[in-house]
Symmetry: C2
Subunit: 738 residues, 2 copies
């Protein structure tokens, strides 16, 4: 189904459009039709397989599960009903076994880390509460036992955590400390006399808070506490602590509260816990990274307390991995609903007297939805690379300290971008569907409400981006540790323009600061992948170098002054980290695009190239002020970015439905009335009604038309009357008059 | 309490800061304290009175009502319970009488239009469902009877609508037509034989949709339908149609469906209605703008069908007025909660070893919340001017066609900006409060869910902005109807820089296009109100002129080509309309600021000036790319905008709590646990605990500290050993060695 005349040569496009003129009307107007002669065709099946990523089977198996009614959310249930329903669904997941793939073979798992997460993410299609409650049980509670515990814990506690006999809470966050986990105040003090740890909550701010499974279902918890033995605090460690008996009553010394209703995810029983001198056996310390002997002696394979802490937290990175993937999936669902509806819904006549325009043909509607679609594709491709990296580390195939650090930086860069993007995509989709978008039956509002908290849990997005920024600063400092400003300037000027991807999630920070805004190149410069990469890379590197330069002044300052100086750069640092994440997404999109062959798949290659360009140029447009201020773009070129984006929107419009179909979601996944074709049916019925009325002559006349006709008739009559009058009147004779 | 040394001269500030250097660390760091010597003080009481606007008594009376528990939302109710609760609250409102102020004295009202809306908006504090259901009953259903009907209708139908004996639906929107009301398909065909109108729904897309009161409570509806008599369609008119009997059963020929659960506002029973040849008496036509005689003859005081239609719709503008005010109030509530919490919450140590930083002292936190606070102030001040204009038109004091047109343009410009702003402010507030922000008990999520639909109902925001843009284009065309491009250029170049507010909601479109980016002026240029006005005004005018120039080519084009050309400018037009709305807000803020006297109120004047500058410069920063591309700002100056914003944030930080306190909401309005001071109590308790531990010597030692000490001890010991060894070793004798 490929039209070779046009699509064998994507480069044609570059040749054909050399002038940076604003898009001509016919290029952006509502006249393109998918499948029209000369238009490229998208191979949605093949593209769909690519979007499934590196674990397609696990993903499809889980997606099939998510399509079953018994796994899905029922809108309007009370939080109590919803909580019980989701707990029941977790039991079905145990029977199915998919969600246990990551656990060791010894415990009945498959040691399959990547495939496990891939499948797990798809649960968001059924109900985000199901995804997150599963995440609490197996991705946090059981995973803490697995990754922070040793053989005893695996044998003793994992089976119950895996088969849901023991629903568990992951008790890390406290009311007083969320982002700053190292400062939690709960203590676990070793008592040599009884060989027990005493878990204690010293004050109200130290209550564990927001814990899934804590309000009702949890029977145990992995409690994070300051480990104290022999009068020394060895920092935060996790302990396995039973919290409820078989009747669901709190065990002695344990208390708690229900968090009650939340903005979403009400299928999860979040709650608070507190401990009053609760004793657990010494062996309940999850002791992989730190142990206490019978006599109270503390030992750890990691000497540095700081590195030990970050290593422990690092084993729990999978939460961020799966949020990244689930957020991308939720964005795709939202856009699939809005774009399918937008391609059918009609409102206002514009270019026709009888037929109303399809709303997706309006430029504004394209501007609202298609750039978000491009970003969703970028998030999908970046996520798969992220998942591959995660699998390499967790399988042990590539598990050096540097690998783990890179993985964490990647997580900290991608999770914020994809979760914020999901909220934006779902909100714009909801608004683009008008009142219909506000109905729970069309899913957009429910998804957005559930996804809302994804931007602050498992690492607040702003805090995560600061971690990325600090890593970027460290890399920068390493490179130029001993160089002064002049040396740096020489270094960057002499650097070759090679900007190959480094795999680590971090890119080279040495960068040519060429002002290519001053030359008069045409818009096709911007279509060049190399130019896009250069612009995006340059921005990250220049921003980081700028901040590093300012922070150099902190040397010799008091602690308070240095903190104030750092604080003055906080916003810029977060923006730089975001720019880094955007670059990673762009690189991933470009690599995914590079797997397509323009000779054998010309249509898909062409359309994906447009989509990637829309993503890349969209970023450049968003940050145009920076590029202009820093002399990277001339005003003319900056303006041509927007004009070319308008042109891309018109080109992509005919393929919009194909591009959302490629996500592969069936009606059992979207479950939105407006995405079922019902809108077109209704409009066909209306059109048929009016056509019959016109044909049968029963249509009422329109006062407006009549008024116009009457006015014309009156004017004509007046003209005739005038003529008649002129004829009848005596001809003036000049001579007589004089 | 005013410190005159600093604050008598706001101009001081301009003098003191001449260099456009980035803010120094100490200027933005977390060291300012409200009330510190030399800091200006805000007169919150006086500022609060200003924020109450032109109808303070009505507003306070309604706010008192909204503070009563029986008027408030109970989180977690089922939609059925919530619907009944809100209906009950409406009955309380009838008893109270406030909500009936706008109705004629003859019917027991007060003919007080502005005061009525002012009071009505405050209901959002109790529950947005209450505000909107009241709006359906009295602002739409009863208001349609009032404004579209005549004496018979006022006497017959208004009493029941006012006292809630007849809950009513406003049946305008259909499934197939929302924004394009003129195309609704329901028909009202006059039957001379029986002197009745026959209301009919010809197909599924013509079902009335999303109607409040339709699902359960409504007993009647004002139904908008194509009025057909003697075979001619006279366009959309409204009729009073009973829909349910006293048992709540649909009357013959009427059917409907419940819309079910929505993304918010579930205290309102939205639903669908359809009519199968339902007959109502001829006199049920609300006949102020169009009547049908017994013999079927149609008459109207407005000859043009188009003008007649817009006149009818224009009488219902109050919905947009009240959404604008309620959205501003909701933004204020959200920011009050987030800023009070942010000023108490601490996380991470930075400049101290023991005390964690207050999160509102972080630059990023200020960047997230304070610009939104500035915009909220702008929205408050703009809303009051809007309400005054509305009152002038509806009281008949200034009620020309031009006044009504201006009012509608103002509504179309301000409602989109304030409702989008509310969603942004509520979302950023929710994220800034982290997990606590996601709890229903802290109100942010519930408010956001309810406010969500404000951006698409009562006129979709994007559609409204297009109305504004068309008006701007029309005004432009009127001004330069006969001028060619060169003439226009001459005109704008010779235009004086006077840009006084025109009261109409529209500003002069002729504008100096001076390139003041090329001159090397310092940052204080940007602090000048005149410069801000010039930049904001210039952008609107230049954008409109640009689009007008492109659209000139449409002359002589086919209808389809002209539509495509217009479509190619749609996005730019909407952006221009938004820029116009932003300018209106800025002007309103500046006028409100001008009422303060720097001699008598130096502190408040200074702080409000900073806040207005933050708003104005925030807009300029947001649109910096445009200013750079169009040569209005030099790169240096554009950069100094951001640097100066950082400085303003640091200055405003100490006043942030005062600025939200000035909104005047008590704990009975905010009803957010985290805004009650509980966070500070918990932190004081924790600090006290640690202090006692240190004092009593029971605090555990820290492994990190011990490790550092041990390392130092080892190093010292090694040094000593080395010295001793050096002493003990035989001195080398050079000669021997050789």
């Amino acid at each position: 189904m490929v039209d070779t005349a046009r699509s064998t040569a994507p480069a044609d496009d570059v040749v054909a459009q050399t002038a940076p003129a604003p898009a001509a009307a016919t290029d952006t107007g509502p006249i393109q039709i998918a499948g029209a002669p000369g238009a490229p065709r998208v191979d949605t099946a093949k593209l769909g397989r690519q979007l499934l990523g590196s674990w397609p089977e696990q993903r499809l198996a889980s997606r099939e599960l998510a399509g079953r009614p018994e796994m899905q959310r029922i809108e309007g249930q009370s939080k109590e009903e919803h909580r019980e329903r989701v707990l029941g669904q977790l039991k079905l997941l145990v029977e199915n076994g998919q969600v246990l793939r990551a656990f060791p073979e010894a415990q009945g798992g498959h040691d399959d880390h990547g495939g496990n997460i891939a499948g797990f993410e798809e649960l968001v299609l059924a109900d985000p509460s199901l995804q997150i409650k599963s995440g609490v049980q197996w991705g946090l509670f059981a995973a803490a036992i697995l990754h922070l515990g040793t053989t005893y814990h695996h044998e003793t506690f994992l089976p119950g955590a895996m088969n849901l006999e023991v629903p568990g809470a992951f008790a890390m966050t406290e009311i007083g400390h969320g982002s700053d986990v190292a400062s939690v105040a709960t203590t676990a003090t070793y008592d040599e006399a009884t060989q027990e740890f005493v878990i204690h909550t010293p004050f109200r701010a130290a209550w564990k808070e927001y814990l899934g499974n804590a309000a009702v279902h949890g029977k145990a918890a992995t409690v994070f506490a300051q480990l104290i033995t022999k009068g020394v605090n060895h920092g935060v460690h996790a302990l396995y602590v039973p919290i409820r008996d078989d009747n669901g009553e709190f065990l002695p010394g344990i208390g708690g509260e229900d968090d009650g209703l939340k903005g979403g995810l009400n299928g999860i029983d979040n709650g608070r816990l507190h401990f009053t001198n609760v004793r657990v056996p010494r062996v309940n310390l999850l002791n992989r990274y730190g142990d206490v002997a019978e006599d109270g002696t503390y030992t750890s394979p990691i000497a540095s307390p700081g590195r030990r802490f970050f290593t422990m937290l690092g084993t729990l990175v999978q939460g961020r991995v799966s949020l990244d993937g689930a957020a991308a999936a939720a964005s795709a669902m939202g856009l699939a609903i809005a774009i399918k509806y937008g391609a059918e819904r009609r409102q206002f006549t514009a270019g026709s007297d009888t037929d109303e325009e399809v709303i997706l043909d309006y430029q504004r509607h394209q501007r609202r939805l298609l750039p978000l679609l491009a970003t969703t594709y970028a998030a999908f491709f970046a996520h798969d690379e992220f998942l591959v990296k995660f699998d390499a580390v967790f399988s042990g195939r590539a598990d050096s300290d540097a690998d783990r650090e890179d993985l964490e930086t990647l997580a900290a860069a991608l999770k914020p971008l994809s979760t914020w993007h999901a909220l934006e995509a779902l909100q714009e989709s909801r608004e683009a569907c008008g009142g219909a978008g506000f109905m729970a039956s069309n899913r957009l509002v429910g998804l957005r409400q559930d996804l809302d908290v994804y931007v602050t849990f498992e690492g607040d997005n702003n805090v995560l981006l600061q971690l990325v920024a600090k890593r970027l600063l460290t890399d920068y400092a390493k490179k130029f540790a001993k160089a002064d400003a002049a040396t740096v300037a020489r270094l960057v000027a002499s650097q070759a323009a090679d900007r190959a991807y480094h795999g680590s999630g971090l890119r080279s920070l040495a960068q040519t600061v060429a002002d290519f805004g001053s030359t008069a190149r045409s818009v096709d410069h911007l279509r060049d992948a190399g130019s896009q990469r250069e612009l995006l890379t340059d921005r990250v590197e220049t921003m980081i170098a700028g901040v590093a330069g300012v922070l150099r002044e902190a040397k010799g300052m008091s602690k308070a002054d240095a903190a104030a100086l750092f604080n003055s750069q906080q916003n810029e640092l977060i923006e730089a980290a975001r720019a880094h994440g955007e670059l990673l997404q762009w690189e991933a999109f470009t690599r995914a695009l590079d797997t397509w062959n323009a000779s054998t798949d010309p249509g898909t290659t062409q359309v994906l190239t447009w989509l990637r360009d829309l993503f890349g140029l969209g970023l450049i447009e968003k940050h145009a002020a920076w590029y202009l201020i820093n002399g990277r773009l001339s005003p003319q070129r900056a303006q041509s970015v927007s004009a070319y984006i308008d042109r891309l929107l018109g080109r992509l419009r005919p393929h919009a439905v194909d591009l959302v179909d490629a996500f592969g979601y069936g009606p059992e996944h979207l479950r939105a009335t407006i995405a079922t074709g019902i809108e077109k049916e209704r409009q066909d019925e209306a059109r048929e009604y009016y056509a019959q009325q016109r044909a049968s002559g029963t249509a009422p006349l329109d006062e407006k038309v009549l008024a116009k006709a009457a006015a014309k008739a009156a004017k004509d009559a007046a003209k005739v009357a005038q003529k008649e009058a002129a004829k009848a009147a005596p001809k003036p004779t000049a001579r007589v008059e004089k």
